[in-house]
Amino acid sequence: MGINSYLKDALPENENFELLHILSVPKETHPIVTQNISTRRDSKNVTIKTQHFFSLFYHSKVIFGLEVYVYITLYNSTIDSHPKLDAERLIFISKADTSGYSDIRVNVKDITNSILSYLLSIDPNFYLKNVKPIQRKRDIYTKQLILGSTSTRKGLKILSNRRRKGFRLDNEKINKNLFSHFTCNQNIITKITLFTRPSEQYLFSKSSESGNKHILAGSTLLKWWISLIDKNILHNFKQDTKAAMQIPGESSLEIKRYFKSLLYPNWQVGDIFGGTDTSLAVYKIPLFPDDPKSRFIRQLVEEGRILSVKLSTFWTELQERQEFRLSETVSVIGIEGYLSKLPIYIPGTDDIIISGSKNKFNRIKSYITGEEYDTEEGATESYYNVKTYLKERIGTNLILISGSKKNSLSTRTEQSKPKVTILQVRKKTK
C-alpha cells in the first residue's frame, strides 16, 4: 500500500493535503555501532544508509516535516554466495516539527505514526537494489568516465574526446561495476530509535517566533513520543518485542513511572544497544547524524578518554553536557523486534521521489528547511518553491492526499505539536 493509504486515515475527511516524500541515494557506510578491533578485523558486515524526508502541505502552506534515516545491516555477507542474507533494519527518527501555520486542526501524532507504519511496511530489499559503494573501483573503463575524483582538466579532455568520437554510457557495465547489489530476507529484526529533546524548532527555522507553536517541555515531549511508539508496537510488532527507554540522570524508578499509562506491557528501563554499566560506551552507542550521543562519543575520542568511559559514566556525563544545560528532560527510546506483518511493499514513483544525488536531495529539502518561518510567508514560499522545482526540474508533482478520518474522531482534539529529537549544533562563530 502506498503512503496515501496510510496517511489519509490520519487526516480530516473531505480535506485535501499534499505530501513531499524524498529519498536519498542508498549508500554503504560504516557500522552504526563502532566495532572493537577483533570484530572489525573479521567483519564482513555491510551497512546501508538512506534518508527519508517528508513534508505535508495544506492550503498551499507547509505544516509538518519529518526526517528519518533507515539503516540496513547485512551480516557476514559473502555477498555472491549467499543470495539471502541475514539482516537487520534500524529506523532512526531524526526530527519532526510543525510550522505553526496549519489552518486546520490535525493530529500530528497520528500523522507521524502513519508515516512510521508506512516505512515499516517497505521491503528492506528496496534499499538494497542499487547501493553506492564506499569507494568506487578505478579501472580502465572508469578512467573514461567523469566521476567525483576526476580533475577538471581530465574532465575537459574526456568531454573533448566525446564530442569528436561520440560516446554512450554502458549502463549495464556501470550498474555491474559501480554499484553494489544485495538481497536479504524480508523477515528481519527491525529497530526504531530516537532521542527526545525539547527545542523551539527542529526543521522550521524561526517558527517559534510566530507565536502559533506550542512548545513542549522535556517530559511532555517524551510522553508524546513514547505513547506514539507504544501505539506503533501494538499495531506493527510481534508480542516479544523489546521496548526500552533511558533518561540520562534519572533513576529507574522515575523512568518506570512513564510506563504506567502505556499499553504495551513489556516496557523496560535501558536501551536496545545492549551492554552493561561496565561495558565501554564506544562499542555500544550507535553513531547517527546530528545526534547528541554520537557527538559526545566523538568528543570522548578528542579527549582521549574513549577507551575508558563505561556506559554508566557515559549516561551520567551525557546529561551534564552543555547542550542540555537547561537541565531539561531528554530521553532515548528504542524498540527491537519482528513485525507482525511481512514487509513486502516496494514504493513506486507515485509514492516517492528518489533523488539521484545527495546534492539534489539537499536542494529539495532546503526549500523547506532553508526558509524562515517567523511569518506565514515562509510557509507559503517553501510550498511554492518545492512545487515549482518538482514540476520544472524533475517533472513530477507533490502527492495529493484526501483525508478520510471522520469528524467524530477528530473531536478527540489533541492538537499535538511535537518537539522532537535531535538537538542543535552549536556553530562556531569565526
Binding site: 563502532t34 567523469i146 582521549g304 515549482t388
Partner: protein, 261 residues
C-alpha cells in the same frame, strides 16, 4: 588601578603595533588581489570566447551550482535557463560589473543584456550611537558592497509581482506581491545595498557568489555537471558523519588512516 609596570607598557604597545600590522596586511591583500586581477584578465577573456562556443554552458553551470539556487525562487529557473552568457569585468579590485545576457522566451520574456555595476565602499557603521563614538572611529568603518538599480524587462508571467505593475503597494496583498518580486532574480537587479530588509535578500552575497566563485570556477562547475553518475554529486560528506578513528587508542595496525579533518 595602580601604576603601569614597564613590561605591561611594552605589551600594551605591542598590541597597538599588531593592530597597525593588521592594517598593513589588509593593504597587501588588496594589492595582491589587484595583481591577480591584472594577471587573470587576458585568460578570462580567452576563456569567455571559448565558453561561448559551448552550447548551454551557463545554463548548465548555473543549474549545477548548489548555492546559486539558494538565493532565488524556484520559478526563476525558467529565466536562468535563458542566460546565454555571464561576464564579470573589473575596473579595479573594488569596482566591477556583472554582465548577463538573456535569450528571450516568445510571448513571455524579452531577450536582453543587462549590466549591473558594483562598488565596495568604506561606510561608517551608523548603528552605533553618537555618544560611544570615540577616537577609535576608524575601527567601525566597514567595507560594504553597494550597487545601482538597473532596468530589466520582467517576464510577462511575473506581472503580478513586478513592482512596476503592482497598483496598490500599500495593501497587505500588494505588499506581499512586492516582496515576492523583490525576492526573485529580477528583484536583484534593483538591489542597492542601501535599504536592508526592503530589497532582494543578501544581494551582496549573491553578487559575491557570481564574482568570486561562479565566474572564476565556471569551467570546474561545468565539468562537474557532466559527471557520468549522478550520485557522484555529493559534496556534503562531512566530518560529523564518519567512522570513529580509534587507531591512536587501540594501536591497531590495519586501521585506515583517516583522521577527521
Amino acid at each position: 588601578m595602580g601604576e603601569v609596570k614597564p613590561n605591561e607598557e611594552e605589551e600594551s604597545n605591542a598590541f597597538l603595533q599588531l593592530a597597525e600590522c593588521e592594517l598593513k596586511v589588509d593593504a597587501i591583500e588588496k594589492d595582491v588581489a589587484q595583481y591577480r586581477l591584472d594577471k587573470m584578465k587576458s585568460v578570462y577573456q580567452e576563456r569567455d570566447g571559448l565558453v561561448n562556443k559551448i552550447p548551454e554552458f551557463w545554463k548548465i553551470v548555473l543549474s549545477q551550482h548548489t548555492d546559486f539556487a539558494n538565493y532565488i525562487r524556484a520559478s526563476d529557473f525558467t529565466y536562468v535557463d535563458c542566460i546565454q552568457d555571464v561576464k564579470v569585468e573589473w575596473d579595479n579590485v573594488d569596482e566591477f560589473k556583472i554582465i548577463i545576457k538573456f535569450d528571450g522566451i516568445k510571448d513571455d520574456f524579452e531577450a536582453q543584456t543587462v549590466t549591473k555595476q558594483f562598488k565596495r565602499q568604506k561606510i561608517i557603521d551608523d548603528t552605533k550611537s553618537k555618544e560611544d563614538s570615540d577616537s577609535d572611529d576608524d575601527d567601525d568603518e566597514l567595507e560594504k558592497l553597494i550597487s545601482e538599480p538597473v532596468d530589466i524587462k520582467w517576464p510577462k508571467k511575473y506581472e503580478d509581482i513586478c513592482p512596476e505593475s503592482i497598483q496598490d503597494k500599500k495593501s497587505p496583498e500588494g505588499k506581499k506581491k512586492y516582496r515576492q518580486g523583490m525576492k526573485s532574480l529580477f528583484g536583484w537587479f534593483r538591489w542597492t545595498g542601501l535599504k536592508p530588509g526592503k530589497e532582494f535578500p543578501h544581494g551582496d552575497s549573491f553578487a559575491e557568489l557570481i564574482v568570486d566563485d561562479l565566474y572564476p570556477y565556471c569551467v570546474k562547475y561545468y565539468t562537474e555537471a557532466h559527471r557520468d553518475l549522478e550520485d557522484e554529486n555529493d559534496d556534503s560528506d562531512s566530518e560529523s558523519e564518519g567512522e570513529l578513528d580509534l587507531s591512536d587508542d587501540e594501536g591497531n595496525e590495519n586501521e585506515p588512516k583517516r583522521r577527521k579533518l
